[in-house]
């Protein structure tokens, strides 16, 4: 490409925004690698231990936006100890030391200390956007630092973090001069918030488009806030409780009539179903609705609400909607693309909140559905086969039967055939989570048909190493594999060790791999970190290689064993 000046190539590359594509571009030739790296502003690091901050900074001098992920996915379900790792401080320190012009930081499953937040807030003049998802380790003091020091802050988005709440003063730390907020989400905070400061902040933020409140914000305050911000596109209510006959409630209803830009609605962290009619007008234009945090809304109230939501594309809901309710969703929400049904009673005694019937109804009624997370009491092969026929567009299909090894209740067969139908029909499937009674057969199907599969979650499934081998040998695009409580051992683990360098990570817990197998793997593959997590005090580490390993997490890395692992993590 000698006849094409670099500036032109750079201009062309500006149009290439996806990480995958830019990564591919950088591999074409040295010249393109150089052009790409010097113009790249957004970098995504899927595993913070795969690379060091220094090397990232060195390669991408124009870095403005960094996304980092820390702990493995199963950390969400308490399978990973809290101090396992994923500390962001070294990254922020390195970025500060190298005077990177950081404007955006997005973290997922990382440990974020108040010191990190303070350092962040003081080191980057143009810092604009902080998004923390499923993180922990900080308090509202850290948020106060961000509020006080980030003069041009546009986005502060806290999703499902564990935050120690020192009570609401942080919101008062936004200076009067801060008028740039576009997005503010503090729904996950559990403590009180200074309502006056919040209202004044909203009043001086004309660009505010997204606001998600926590449960300490009562309905009257919500009304006053909405008066100031009728332009909101994304609203998360706090507490939605009031006497429907009161003046405050009628005021809210009237105010909501003026908020005709709202397209995304969530919250209802406390709710009285009798207050729901206030949002019916908003429902007409909603494309995204999340009621999954709302306890105490019964099926019928949910159904009444859903019937107003004809334009819904994304719905997150609790299973008390029931199969009948899902039928209403199917007939009302023809534009539905993503559905998540969460369990309202996870350890319940077979209240049969939703079953395969609801899912079949949805698949029949919602032709655009491509992303599913479904917690249910039971599933049948026939239903899955029907779903596969109705909806071949799935990119994400995550099914969780509350009883993890339950067979098809009608035929008592394993669910191999059902999932097999799904992978055969859905050629664009990228993410799959299995549950129910499953044998090696389902893995054969997955290996054969799931060509685009990138992430697979397995629990209590399979009979032998063959299962895991089918997957490793068949799924060429596999990036993340997480397995728990399944009978896969050393033979499966060490069959094709090169495979792991093409993947981000592999998690195996309560399987049948032994220390011997893990050690052999680690020895042969220096560019993998093989971590053994063993919190059990009773077991002397590395005493007997034939012992079965409780938890193993391996991932490819360019920087060798990490130095911040706690005492119970052994890196082979």
């Amino acid at each position: 490409m000698n006849y094409c000046p670099d500036e032109v190539m750079e201009h062309v590359f500006d149009f290439i925004t996806s990480h995958k594509d830019r990564n591919a571009v950088s591999l074409v030739c040295k010249s393109w690698y150089q052009i790409e790296r010097s113009s790249r502003q957004k970098v995504f690091i899927g595993n913070c231990y795969a690379i060091s901050p220094e090397r990232v900074i060195e390669r991408f001098p124009e870095l403005k936006s960094l996304t980092l992920k820390g702990k493995p996915h199963f950390a969400d379900f308490n399978l990973v100890p809290h101090d396992w790792g994923g500390f962001v401080y070294p990254w922020i320190e390195a970025l500060a030391n190298h005077r990177v012009g950081l404007e955006e930081l997005r973290l997922k499953r990382m440990v974020v200390s108040d010191e990190s937040l303070e350092l962040l807030s003081k080191s980057f003049v143009n810092f604009k956007s902080l998004v923390l998802v499923s993180c922990e380790g900080f308090t509202t003091d850290g948020l106060a630092a961000i509020a006080a020091n980030c003069r041009y802050l546009r986005e502060l988005d806290l999703q499902e973090n564990e935050v120690e709440d020192h009570k609401g003063h942080w919101i008062s730390c936004f200076p009067e001069s801060c008028t740039s907020l576009v997005s503010l989400n503090f729904a996950c905070l559990k403590g009180e918030i200074n309502l006056t400061a919040l209202e004044r902040l909203v009043a001086r933020s004309p660009n505010l488009k997204s606001l998600r409140l926590n449960r300490a914000v009562p309905l009257e305050a919500l009304q006053r806030i909405l008066m100031r911000a009728p332009q909101l596109v994304d609203l998360g209510t706090g507490s939605f409780l009031h006497d429907p006959a009161s003046e405050a409630y009628s005021k809210l209803k009237a105010t909501l009539l003026k908020c005709n830009s709202i397209r995304t609605l969530s919250g209802f962290l406390e709710v009285s179903p009798r207050c729901l009619p206030a949002i019916y007008t908003v429902c007409q234009n909603l494309t995204s609705l999340n009621l999954s945090y709302a306890p105490g809304i019964h099926g019928n109230d949910m159904i009444k609400l859903i019937q107003h939501c004809r334009k819904l594309e994304r719905l997150w809901i609790l299973d008390c909607i029931g199969d009948k309710g899902l039928g209403v969703v199917a007939s009302t929400c023809k534009e539905l693309q993503e559905l998540r049904v969460f369990p309202s009673d996870p350890y319940g005694v077979g209240n049969a909140a939703v079953t395969e019937e609801g899912l079949v109804a949805i698949s029949a009624g919602c032709p655009k559905l491509h992303s599913l997370l479904y917690f249910c009491q039971q599933m049948t092969n026939a239903a899955l086969i029907t779903v596969a026929k109705n909806c071949s567009n799935f990119t994400r299909f995550r099914l969780c039967i509350l009883d993890p090894t339950k067979p098809d209740p009608v035929t008592l067969q394993p669910l191999d055939e059902g999932f097999g139908a799904i992978v055969q029909s859905c050629k664009r499937l990228r993410r799959l989570s299995l549950s129910g009674l499953l044998t090696d057969q389902v893995f054969l199907y997955i290996g054969m048909y799931a060509e685009q599969l990138e992430m697979l979650s397995i629990a209590f499934a399979g009979d032998s190493d063959k299962g895991m081998l089918y997957v490793l040998n068949g799924c060429k695009n596999l990036r993340k594999l997480e397995i728990r409580d399944s009978p896969f051992g050393n033979k499966a683990l060490s069959d094709d060790v090169g495979k792991y360098e093409t993947m981000r990570s592999l998690w195996m817990s309560s399987c049948e791999v032994t220390l011997e197998g893990c050690k052999a793997l680690a020895k042969n593959m220096p560019r993998l970190n093989v971590e053994i997590i063993n919190e059990d005090d009773e077991v002397a580490p590395s005493s007997d290689d034939r012992q079965i390993v409780g938890k193993m997490y391996l991932y490819r890395t360019l920087v060798g064993p990490r130095k911040d692992a706690p005492w119970y993590v052994e890196i082979l």
Partner: protein
């Protein structure tokens, strides 16, 4: 799955496996063999976790083999009718089931304790499994054949901690049954373990009762309790007010509809600010934290009283 191309190679292998299934049925109470895992299969057991199941199974081992072979026969013929997937997974059924009656088997297999042998063995043997730890498997008390909740497994179902707590604040299950208490973060609502006795009086009944609100976690349960507390007393009052005529046909009438205004009586309470409020508007935990005493009033009289909020009139309308 119709139309699914069968991998011809696997079928002979699957059929080969069937005779080996006898091994599965043999109760392996000893340690599991380590090392090569090719022949290792994870055994599933039906029946509750705990020692009793093991001894039952041991004693009936021979019978079980026989019965399971029968089941085998049943299944393989069934399987042939379906998708020619000769492989059918075996469960070890308790001796009470007869293999022929499929519905019964169906119920059995939907039993909870598809907890893996891993769980049971780690409880029994204290191996180096880091999960599930023995302490966490003690929760399921029910050993009947009825449908019971699956024995709690660490990290299952795969939902985040705050969602578990969400469920426990609103569901009928008390928060203490959450198996991951040891692991999960502090619950959103602090569980109220101390006794919360409040007085409760009913119109027409001169003697009041006391009720411990910490024993309930929903309005429905409280409503039931009210019925239980006062049904007999109310009937007795009616008898005595009828002039002492003992009318055996006058059965005790259930007290219902106290929460939604549909019954003869309505449940109200006095809160910590001294106001009289209708029961049922706020989440349970909030109610419990503000209630000072309860009253069961005649629905017709509720509107006549000066109540704490005007919503009551709306309710009765």
């Amino acid at each position: 799955m119709e139309g699914c191309s069968k991998n011809g190679e696997t079928r002979p292998q699957l059929l080969d496996l069937i005779p080996k299934e006898r091994e599965w049925l043999v109760m392996r109470e000893g340690e599991r063999s380590h090392g090569s895992s090719e022949e290792k299969k994870l055994e599933l057991r039906l029946g509750p976790p705990g020692g009793e199941d093991w001894s039952v199974a041991k004693n009936n081992n021979r019978e079980l083999d026989h019965e399971s072979l029968l089941s085998l026969g049943y299944f393989s013929s069934m399987a042939n009718n379906q998708n020619n997937n000769g492989f059918s997974f075996l469960h070890q059924f308790p001796t009470k089931t007869t293999p022929q009656s499929l519905p019964v088997i169906g119920k059995e297999s939907s039993q909870p304790c598809c907890t893996k042998v891993v769980d049971l063995q780690s409880a029994a043997e204290k191996k180096a499994f880091s999960s599930p730890a023995p302490a966490k498997n003690t929760a399921v008390p029910n050993s009947s054949q009825k449908r019971t909740a699956p024995a709690p497994v660490v990290g299952w179902p795969p939902i985040r901690s705050f969602r578990k707590n969400l469920a426990s604040t609103s569901a009928s299950k008390p928060a203490t049954e959450s198996p991951n208490k040891a692991n999960s973060e502090k619950p959103v609502e602090p569980s109220r373990k101390k006794n919360l006795f409040v007085k409760i009086n009913m119109d027409g009944v001169p003697i009041g009762r006391k009720v411990d609100l910490s024993a309930y976690d929903s309005y429905e349960k409280l409503s039931t309790a009210v019925d239980e507390l006062f049904r007999g007393l109310l009937a007795a009052q009616r008898d005595s007010s009828a002039g002492g005529i003992v009318n055996k046909q006058e059965e005790e009438k259930a007290i219902t509809g106290v929460l939604d205004g549909s019954g003869e009586y309505t449940l109200v309470y006095e809160d910590n600010e001294g106001d009289r409020m209708l029961v049922g508007d706020v989440p349970w935990h909030m109610f419990v934290s503000t209630v000072k005493r309860l009253r069961v009033l005649k629905s017709s009289e509720v509107s006549a009283l000066s109540l704490g909020s005007s919503k009551q009139a709306k309710i009765l309308a």
